[in-house]
């Protein structure tokens, strides 16, 4: 029990180990999942922010571009308009110099100037007004004032103090007429302007200041007017010298720019500032509000060139409003983020799901393992328990056997026998359960030993012969000729399957037949497929037919699988014969393959399996229905075991069944071919030898039913008898008669005629007639063919009738078995009076007694106990036993001449073991035999042809190697130790059966 516990423990350990290894293979690390999700979200956020930045930057660039283009456009326009005005002022300056100075007298006066300028004012939209100031040096002031009738005044409208020079306005446009007579040199900016202008000869600008008259910011433009035409590239002095006066105009920059911007689109969107940046550190504002407003983040600076190289101006534009929040970008990005988030979550969810599924899977796996181990444990338990039950059951049965040996009253005996029968049934059941459990636990292993299939089938048939006879069922076996004599496989298990199927059939069949067929799978299948019409399982038309019609099956009853009827069977046999006879090639190709697949069919005409139960026939412990076990008994485990066994043998089992018609179970099994040379050696011990004395005999089988006739022929053929089949007795008579008359040709002369009982009773031939015919022929023939009746069951009246009508010779009771047929024929034909294989004739114990009675037997064993037991056993059967303690003692006892009939030799002995002793004995014997041949006869033994004392090994380990060793050193057989009746009988029968004949 400790062992078992340990094994369970080890199972559990293995289980956990397996689980442990399984655990490692997880797809996803669950601890990382939330981190992965967080990381994913961060990545998505980052990506979307990058995305947003990208889109926003693009927006900004576009915005900047717009600003730049707007700003540049404004600046250019401003510059253009400005230069247009400057040009016009320039033209005006030239006009003044031309008409005021070059013309003498001057063609321009205030009136003309005012009118002209007023009328050309549209040309100078930027200038609020123009005026001309004459250059007056101090020396000329008096004259000038006089000439014009006003004094030169400063900007503050006061009479000008004395200076070197003055620049009083002489002509002015009406719009600025208030500056007439004002000395331009008195204003700081104007003075500077004037000086610069006359030095450069170009238009110069003042820095912006509040204009007189209006409060707008403005600049003053000053052009010099020269008295004389200047030479090219004049020097500064020359310019100053030539200067006659100055033309000036005030630019109202503020309104100018205002106008300008007003004309342009998108005016209100941007803020424009214009600066004078001549002094870099202190830009002076020319336009725009001093305090900054608008979008400070973005501005654009455009340089302005107003034609004065000394002054620098610039325009700064910025958006009035801050950049609007980019909703589209924001939305897109947000959407992107959300999608990313969702995606991440989906992945996370999937991963979580996978993890969950994995967990479930592991759980399930664990449960599965647990269930499986529970199942194994169950099977093991079942096996153990069955085994444990068997042990005490053996005790019980043994005790019951003991009890039955004692003096019991009839009632007690009945009780005890009942108990024993029950016990045996229980043991059978337990064995079945054990088998089942073993198969489930995978503990069952098939042997691979050579065995004779036919003799096994015969054995199985013999098991059921009593029952079938009792029920009046035909029981028959047919093995195709192509099936090898010896195949390698597990005979026990094969027998078990067939026994089970046949047993079932016998159990459920009340009339008709049970027919076991064995064919090679391939041709049988091919033919059956070719023939197979749609065969309905349990079709109802069969029931209608089964009333009167005779089917061409074994007994004439309908079978479930009508493919097995004579039509197919005929083909199978014909095919075989054809193959055997003609095409050796085919055979060779068959031989080459190592395996041989056999198909075994067990056909019955029983109650069939109800349709609803057909699918669970092979399920363990399920019978067709619960009433089955009530009516017929049984556990319903047999078929499932059979199925398992068949599958272990590499085959399949299936069945066709029609209720009330019958069932046909067929299974295939794969066996190994047995090499020829091996089979030659092994054939002897494997198959119980059929007597060979019938070789060449001829028989006529009279049977109206071809299938049954084929079965009969099969058995006779195994005995070497040539068989002819005829349909009726009349035909048989005709054949034998013909042969009789044409005897000279030495054709078929039947030695026997086997008549099926049906043909005899129901046949139209008159048996009396037959007898007379026979008598008639008797004169011509040497020998009357023996008349043999074949019958499944026969009552005494029929028997008498048969006897009276010519079947005096014998009646062979079915089921036919080769050995039994042989026995009957021997009896009839009187071939060799030697005893047949005793199993059929006598029961072992009595037979043993008859074999051993009076024989002198030497038992050689070093073990005193064994010696005593063996001697006791042999004595019980009437043998005269002498014991020897060792091999040496045996040698001395077996010195030729001696009168021992056999020797039982222990193998394991000190000093000289059984093998060695046997070898020496054989050596001794051969020497003696040589001497006999040489003529020197030893007294008293001359009648013995050869010295050969049968030596049987006694051994505890019954393995083949030992057996081979036994044969090698000259032993004749072996018996297992301790003695068993059956075993002893088998070993002894082999060489004692021939003894009476050779040694009278």
């Amino acid at each position: 029990m400790g062992l078992k516990v340990q094994s369970h423990h080890s199972v559990a350990v293995r289980l956990t180990e397996q689980l442990g290894t399984k655990r490692k293979y997880t797809l996803i690390n669950r601890a990382w999942l939330p981190k992965m999700l967080m990381l994913w979200i961060m990545v998505v956020a980052f990506v979307s922010s990058v995305f947003y930045d990208g889109m926003d930057a693009e927006n900004k660039v576009r915005r900047k571009e717009v600003l730049v283009s707007m700003c540049d456009q404004r600046a250019r326009m401003l510059q253009d308009q400005f230069s247009v005005s400057v040009n016009h002022v320039h033209a005006l300056a030239i006009l003044v110099s031309t008409f005021h100075y070059y013309k003498i007298p001057s063609a321009i006066d205030q009136e003309t100037f005012a009118e002209y300028t007023a009328r050309t004012a549209f040309e100078r939209p930027l200038l609020s007004g123009v005026a001309y100031a004459q250059r007056v040096v101090d020396s000329e002031r008096g004259e000038f004032e006089r000439q014009h009738g006003w004094t030169i005044r400063t900007m503050k409208r006061e009479p000008s103090p004395i200076r070197d020079e003055y620049a009083p306005v002489v002509f002015s446009q009406e719009t600025v007429s208030y500056i007439e007579s004002l000395d331009m040199m008195s204003g700081e900016e104007d003075r500077e302007n004037i000086l610069r202008a006359r030095a450069t000869g170009k238009a110069v600008l003042t820095s912006p200041f509040r204009l007189l008259g209006s409060h707008h910011l403005g600049v003053v433009l000053t052009f010099p007017v020269y008295k004389i035409k200047l030479p090219p590239n004049p020097s500064e002095e020359e310019r100053i010298e030539a200067t006659a006066g100055y033309l000036g105009g005030a630019f109202d920059v503020e309104s100018l720019v205002e106008n300008l911007l007003g004309q342009l689109a998108g005016n209100q969107a941007i803020v424009v500032n214009v600066y004078d940046i001549t002094n870099c550190s202190d830009p002076l504002i020319m336009y725009g509000r001093q305090y900054q407003d608008g979008d400070m983040s973005l501005n654009h600076v455009s340089m302005l060139d107003f034609g004065d190289p000394f002054r620098k101006h610039q325009m700064i534009c910025r958006y009035l409003q801050k950049a609007p929040i980019p909703w589209t970008t924001l939305n897109t990005t947000f959407l992107f983020f959300v999608i990313g988030l969702l995606l991440g979550y989906i992945l996370y969810g999937a991963a979580i799901h996978i993890v969950k599924v994995e967990d479930d899977f592991h759980e399930m796996q664990e449960l599965k393992f647990r269930a499986e181990s529970a199942d194994i444990a169950k099977s093991q338990f079942l096996a153990t328990v069955s085994h444990e039950i068997r042990t005490p059951m053996n005790g019980i049965l043994g005790m019951l056997a003991l009890l039955l040996d004692t003096d019991l009253s009839s009632t007690q005996r009945d009780y005890a026998q009942t108990a024993q029968a029950c016990g045996k049934a229980l043991i059978t059941l337990i064995n079945e359960v054990l088998d089942r459990a073993k198969i489930e636990a995978g503990k069952l292993e098939l042997e691979a030993v050579p065995f004779d299939l036919r003799s096994i089938l015969d054995d199985v048939l013999s098991l059921f012969s009593e029952k079938s006879r009792h029920k009046g069922i035909e029981l028959a076996v047919f093995v195709s000729d192509k099936v090898p004599d010896i195949v390698m496989g597990d005979p026990g298990r094969f027998r078990q399957v067939v026994t089970n199927l046949v047993g079932n059939s016998v159990k459920f069949t009340e009339r008709g037949h049970i027919f076991v067929q064995v064919h090679l799978a391939e041709p049988a299948k091919a033919i059956m497929d070719a023939k197979s019409e749609t065969c309905l399982n349990g079709g109802s038309e069969g029931i209608v037919l089964s009333g009167g019609c005779q089917f061409k099956t074994l007994s004439g009853c309908e079978a479930a699988d009508d493919r097995n009827s004579w039509d197919t069977f005929k083909n199978l046999i014909a095919d075989e014969q054809f193959r055997v006879d003609t095409s050796n090639k085919v055979m060779i190709t068959d031989e080459t393959s190592q395996n041989v697949t056999l198909m075994v069919c067990v056909e019955d005409t029983g109650i069939g399996i109800p349709l609803h139960a057909q699918e669970r026939v092979f399920t363990p412990f399920m019978q067709a229905d619960s009433s089955t076990s009530r009516n017929y008994g049984g556990t319903g485990i047999g078929l499932s075991i059979s199925k398992c066994l068949v599958e272990l043998m590499g085959g399949h089992i299936n069945f066709i069944s029609r209720p009330h018609v019958g069932s046909t179970f067929s299974f295939t099994a794969v066996f190994r071919r047995c090499e020829k040379n091996v089979s030659g050696d092994l054939k002897k011990p494997l198959s119980d030898d059929l007597p060979t004395g019938f070789k060449g005999l001829k028989a006529i089988v009279v049977d109206g039913k071809p299938v049954r006739a084929a079965v009969t022929r099969y058995h006779l053929k195994r005995l070497g008898i040539v068989v002819e089949i005829v349909g009726s007795i009349r035909m048989a008579v005709a054949i034998s008669g013909k042969n009789g008359s044409l005897r000279s040709k030495n054709e078929m002369q039947p030695d026997m005629i086997l008549v099926e009982k049906d043909s005899w009773i129901y046949g139209d031939d008159s048996s009396v007639n037959l007898r007379l015919l026979d008598w008639e022929k008797n004169g011509h023939t040497f020998k009357l063919p023996k008349m043999i009746l074949l019958a499944t069951n026969i009552n005494s009246a029929e028997f008498e009738k048969a006897k009276a009508e010519g079947f005096a010779d014998t009646v062979i009771m079915k089921p036919l078995r080769a050995s039994m047929v042989a026995a009957c024929l021997q009896q009839v034909l009187g071939i060799g009076k030697k005893t047949l294989q005793g199993r059929d004739m006598l029961n072992g114990s009595a037979f043993l007694r008859s074999l051993l009675c009076g024989k002198k037997i030497l038992v050689v064993d070093d073990n005193q106990v064994n010696r005593r037991v063996a001697a006791g056993a042999l004595k019980k059967f009437g043998a005269d036993v002498v014991c020897a303690k060792s091999g040496k003692a045996a040698l001395s006892l077996l010195q030729v001449p001696h009168n021992f009939d056999a020797c039982f030799m222990d193998i394991q002995m000190p000093e000289m073991d059984g093998f060695e002793a046997t070898r020496r004995i054989r050596m001794m014997e051969s020497e003696a035999n040589e001497q006999i041949k040489g003529g020197s006869t030893i007294e008293g033994i001359s009648k013995k042809a050869q010295w050969h004392v049968p030596i049987l090994a006694m051994t505890a380990d019954v393995i083949h190697a030992t057996y081979d060793e036994c044969l090698k050193c000259g032993m004749d057989g072996y018996v297992s130790k301790p003695f068993e009746e059956e075993n002893l009988y088998q070993a002894v029968a082999k060489f004692f059966e021939s003894k009476p004949i050779l040694d009278p």
Binding site: N394, L402, D405, N863, V869, Q908, P978
Partner: protein
């Protein structure tokens, strides 16, 4: 009265046998042995068993000597003894003794001295048990025969 005694003794014997079978001390071979006993050899079983006891005691003694010889244990010789013990045990159907012998032999084949010692102890124990039980059995048998013998004249 005496007849009843015989029946009871027979029942006792059978009970004892059943117990031994159930315990696995004996197996079917013992039954076979009993079957060999008949009128011609009325004491066959006890005769064989007595031989068995003598032999076994010799063997056990030898085994113990071999094992107690500290310097040198002749495992080969031990194996021969064990084989003999096993053979005779299986002949009389002493199942458990035989099984212990098998284990013993396995241990001796591996030169496993502690295992051998343990096995020897077990073997001696089993042997004693068997011996006691069989003695008991034979005692009952003897009584039964005596009882039966007393009955005969009454019947006659």
């Amino acid at each position: 009265m005496l007849g009843f005694g015989e029946d009871r003794l027979r029942a006792d014997m059978n009970r004892l046998l059943a117990l031994l079978f159930h315990q696995g001390v004996l197996d079917e071979q013992f039954l076979q042995l009993q079957q060999l006993q008949d009128e011609t050899s009325p004491n066959f079983v006890s005769e064989v068993v007595n031989i068995y006891f003598q032999e076994s005691e010799k063997l056990l003694r030898n085994l113990r000597e071999l094992l107690l010889d500290r310097e040198f244990s002749d495992y080969k010789k031990m194996g021969i003894h064990l084989n003999q013990f096993m053979g005779s045990s299986s002949s009389i159907g002493a199942n458990r003794v035989r099984n212990v012998c098998v284990a013993f032999r396995a241990a001796s084949e591996q030169n496993n001295r502690p295992g051998c010692l343990r096995a020897l102890e077990l073997l001696e124990h089993e042997y004693c048990y068997l011996k006691n039980k069989l003695h008991e059995l034979f005692q009952i048998e003897q009584q039964r025969v005596l009882a039966a013998g007393v009955r005969y004249p009454m019947q006659n």
